[in-house]
Structure formats: structure tokens, C-alpha cells
């Protein structure tokens, strides 16, 4: 018998087809999601901080060019922010939140309580790279997407579309093009432009046939 030969007869398959479907009990889905919200808000940053010279292969690494100790602390600050800025509910302007948190934490680093000597910080002055790294570009993309999302949450489709258009011009094939298109459909619907929304939705489904945001796009087009 070859490995691809099926030892199951039609009777066996009939038996399999009679199995019961295991389904979560009522309320399970929402209760687990609420529990996840809590865990994610309390969890540390999704990925560790590494120095720029250490290749990680991970797009989720928070990188600060130049300074080792401050990078670790900033990473912690960003992790704390990431846990709250993304989840759950309406999102405040993430750019402002991140800056505030970072200033506070950097001050703590400068207290002489850690084993790392201050001169190590001075020895590596920060230098902004000429060409943005892929992670830096993604950060720019995410800022534009977040502005659009925030505008939608505040009922301002015009502002959302402005930010989405900026994203489309700056990053026509960006990594967040999928999210952009999803938000564009929602913004167009909110702006009272359903025909355009449907066109964008059709293009979205053609380009992202397996997208997790497909149901979100469809729901935006469905009348309540």
C-alpha cells in the first residue's frame, strides 16, 4: 500500500461524517476575548529590543539607533505604550502618546542606579540614517493609518480620507495597503459615497482574497 493510498472505506468515511461538531458554548467567544484584552494590556512588548547592528529578522523589533541602554528603556516604554495605544477601544493619537512616554522613561535611565556607566551612552552618539530602514517606513505607514482610523472613530470621514490618500501617495504598495483599503471603504460609506465604496471593496477582494478584513469591508457596505 503506497503512502497516498487511503485505508478508509466508504463506511469509515460515512462514520466520520456522523461525528458531532464541537462548538464553543454560548458566551465563550466574548468572554475569552475580554480575557485576552486584559492579558494583552498587561503583557510586555511583543518583541525584545535589539541594537541596530544585530540582525533579528523580526519586523516587530523596536530599534533606537546608537544608544544601547536608552534603547532598552525606550523599548520598554514603547512596549507599555503599544499595549495601551492599540488595545482596546478608540485609539488616541499614538504619536503623541509615544513621545510623552519616552521622555519620562529616558529620565529614569539617567539616574545612576543601573550598572551601565553613563559614558557608554556618550560614546555612541545617535545618527539618523540617510535611508529609512524598512521598520522606519512601516512606522510612517502606521502613523498615517492610525490618523485615518482615529478620524473614522471620531466620525470625520474627510480627515480619514485625507490621511488615507497621503498613505496611498507615499506608499502605493505599502505593507499596510490592505488596512488602507479597508478603512477607505468605511470612510467612503461614512461620507455618503456608497458607489465608490463598493468599487474600492471589489478591488480589495480581488487584491486580498484571503484578507481577515474581508468581513469588516463587507459589513461596512451592508445596510444596518
Amino acid at each position: 500500500m503506497s503512502e497516498h493510498e487511503d485505508p478508509l472505506s466508504s463506511a469509515h468515511r460515512a462514520l466520520l461524517s456522523q461525528r458531532r461538531d464541537l462548538e464553543p458554548p454560548p458566551g465563550f467567544e466574548d468572554a475569552l476575548l475580554a480575557r485576552l484584552h486584559t492579558s494583552m494590556a498587561a503583557a510586555p512588548a511583543p518583541a525584545p529590543v535589539t541594537p541596530p547592528s544585530s540582525p533579528t529578522g523580526s519586523a516587530s523589533t523596536a530599534v533606537v539607533s546608537g544608544v544601547g541602554v536608552s534603547a532598552l528603556v525606550v523599548g520598554v516604554a514603547l512596549g507599555a505604550v503599544a499595549g495601551h495605544a492599540w488595545w482596546p477601544g478608540p485609539t488616541p493619537d499614538p504619536v503623541i502618546v509615544e513621545r510623552v512616554k519616552t521622555v519620562e522613561v529616558v529620565r529614569e535611565v539617567e539616574r545612576p542606579t543601573t550598572a551601565t556607566p553613563p559614558k557608554r551612552i556618550e560614546a555612541k552618539p545617535t545618527v539618523a540614517p540617510v535611508d529609512p530602514s524598512p521598520d522606519a517606513l512601516l512606522a510612517e505607514e502606521r502613523q498615517l493609518i492610525d490618523v485615518a482610523r482615529s478620524a473614522l472613530l471620531h466620525g470625520d470621514p474627510r480627515a480619514a480620507l485625507e490621511s488615507l490618500n497621503s498613505h496611498a501617495k507615499r506608499f502605493p504598495s505599502g505593507r499596510l495597503a490592505e488596512e488602507r483599503a479597508s478603512l477607505e471603504v468605511q470612510a467612503l460609506v461614512l461620507a455618503g459615497r456608497p458607489a465608490e465604496a463598493r468599487q474600492v471593496a471589489e478591488a480589495f477582494h480581488r487584491q486580498f482574497p484571503h484578507s481577515l478584513l474581508g468581513p469588516v469591508v463587507d459589513a461596512a457596505l451592508s445596510p444596518e
Binding site: M1, P24, W86, P129
Partner: protein, 182 residues
């Protein structure tokens, strides 16, 4: 305490999923993962804990997910590893492979009818966990073998080999039960 010149830093946020994207993944995949883990032998009383761990791991490792590919194989791979760890912890307890209360019936009822669910549970409990995972994903969840291999982090021939082993176990159990029913 002196201010730092933060403009000198390039601050790059971590790449975490947006709430919309993650919740969309959660809503679309939860039921499938519930079935998958239940069929792997995670008792009903532990499913919430294990699923919580699966999605938390997924959230933390979101940067490893390639959005151009379907998410289900990636999540199933995480679920399999989390479940394997759970089973390792519970190996010496009676929780492993316990059936939900409503399934605690004889495989063959007094009228001679075979309880298909009981047969399946009995067969699954006799399979090695890797073969069981392949069987569940392919035979019950109807995932193609290349996707199953991807989830398990293994080669397609290995997945086929495990599938064959699992099918043989199921056939053997089903045949024995059919003999009991006569």
C-alpha cells in the same frame, strides 16, 4: 535632571496587529481552533485556558505572520505547539482525553447503532499526537495536506505518512466496533 534630545533618536514602534486585524483573526478562527484543540484531546474544562494562550502567543509573534498567506495554518501551528505543551503537563492526570459528559455513552447502543462520535474519540485517543493532529486537520477540518504540513512545520511526505498511520488506526477501531455491533 537634564532633558535628552529625543529628536536624535529614531523611535520605531513595534509591529503589533491593530485591534481590528487581530479581532478579525480571533473571530474568524476561534471556532476552528476550538474544534482542533478539542480533537487533539484538550479537555473541555481546559479549552479556554489553552485558546487564551494560543491567541496570546499569536499576538506576541504577529511579526512572524505573513499577511499574504492564509492565517489558519499559522494559527494551527501555534495551537498544536501550545496543546502539545499542555498535554505534556497533563500526561499523568486523568484530564487527558476525557470526553465531555454528553459523550459518555457506549460505542454501540442497545439497538446496535454505532455512536460515531465515540468511535472517533476512541480512535483519536490511540493515535500519536502528531498523527492525530494531521488526521484532525485533514480529515475533520478538510485542510489540504500541504497546508497541514506547513502548520506542523514538517515536510509533505512526513504529513502523508502520519495521515496514513492515523487512518489505519481509525480503520482498525471502526472495524473492531463494527464487529461488536454484530
Amino acid at each position: 535632571m537634564r532633558e535628552r534630545n529625543l529628536s536624535a533618536f529614531r523611535l520605531l514602534p513595534v509591529t503589533s496587529p491593530s485591534p481590528t486585524t487581530f479581532e478579525a483573526a480571533y473571530r474568524s478562527e476561534l471556532r476552528g481552533l476550538y474544534r482542533f484543540l478539542g480533537r487533539l484531546g484538550i479537555p473541555a474544562s481546559s479549552l479556554e485556558d489553552v485558546l487564551h494562550d494560543v491567541f496570546l502567543v499569536a499576538w506576541k509573534k504577529w511579526d512572524t505572520y505573513d499577511p499574504s498567506r492564509a492565517i489558519r495554518p499559522w494559527l494551527c501551528g501555534i495551537a498544536f505547539r501550545v496543546a502539545a505543551d499542555h498535554r505534556a503537563l497533563k500526561r499523568n492526570t486523568s484530564e487527558v482525553d476525557e470526553l465531555p459528559a454528553e459523550f459518555s455513552r457506549e460505542v454501540v447502543d442497545p439497538s446496535g447503532r454505532v455512536d460515531a462520535e465515540r468511535v472517533l474519540q476512541r480512535a483519536l485517543s490511540r493515535m500519536p499526537v502528531e498523527a492525530r493532529a494531521v488526521f484532525v486537520m485533514h480529515e475533520l477540518e478538510e485542510r489540504p495536506i500541504p497546508e497541514v504540513a506547513e502548520s506542523m512545520g514538517t515536510l509533505v511526505p512526513t504529513a502523508y505518512s502520519r495521515l496514513r498511520s492515523a487512518r489505519l488506526v481509525f480503520a482498525e477501531v471502526a472495524n473492531l466496533v463494527a464487529q461488536e455491533a454484530r
